[in-house]
Symmetry: C2
Subunit: 103 residues, 2 copies
């Protein structure tokens, strides 16, 4: 997961009460497009254990570069998949480098 030749997308999702399954389905629709784009390496969707977490879902994905990710989300195919649900589940995607690691 933590290859020096990759960057990490972290995307926390706000999920209204009772909408968790819909949010997972939304993520799956988007991921089904992104996984076929150049530069995609992996994705891991995390679900909060306890109810009431600020972000019920968090996606952590690896891409070969930030440019690959930007190209992928700019495709019309992704835009079509992502439109429905985007406002239902506010999310905050950003690309990250690893700056500290323990051990």
């Amino acid at each position: 997961m933590l290859d020096i030749m990759s960057v990490t997308l972290i995307n926390p999702f706000e999920v209204p009460p009772g909408r968790e399954e819909d949010a997972v389905a939304y993520w799956e629709r988007c991921a089904d497009v992104l996984r076929r784009q150049p530069g995609f390496i992996s994705a891991h969707l995390h679900r909060a254990i306890m109810p009431g977490a600020r972000f019920a879902l968090v996606n952590v994905a690896e891409w070969e570069s930030a440019e690959h990710f930007q190209s992928a989300v700019s495709t019309s195919e992704f835009q079509a998949a992502a439109t429905t649900g985007a406002s239902d589940f506010p999310h905050f995607p950003a690309m990250y480098d690893l700056v500290r690691t323990i051990p």
Copy 2:
């Protein structure tokens, strides 16, 4: 990182402009305590590549269980380390299970 016998802590940090180094130092003070607590496995601090990200820093850590993490952050040593800076850098820690993975 993704052992079936662990849970994932994900903790996004809001960092005011110009305060990134202080926020990393705050994380290091807290992490120096937590790494010595029972159940700690690993921690990875991520920094946003582009300025203006909603969460400039995101910690992704592995713990043996949610109970281990709760015990660790309940210690007086952690409370002392975490007090200064907590309000400067609003953060939203929660424990997560992995629910989807690609490939």
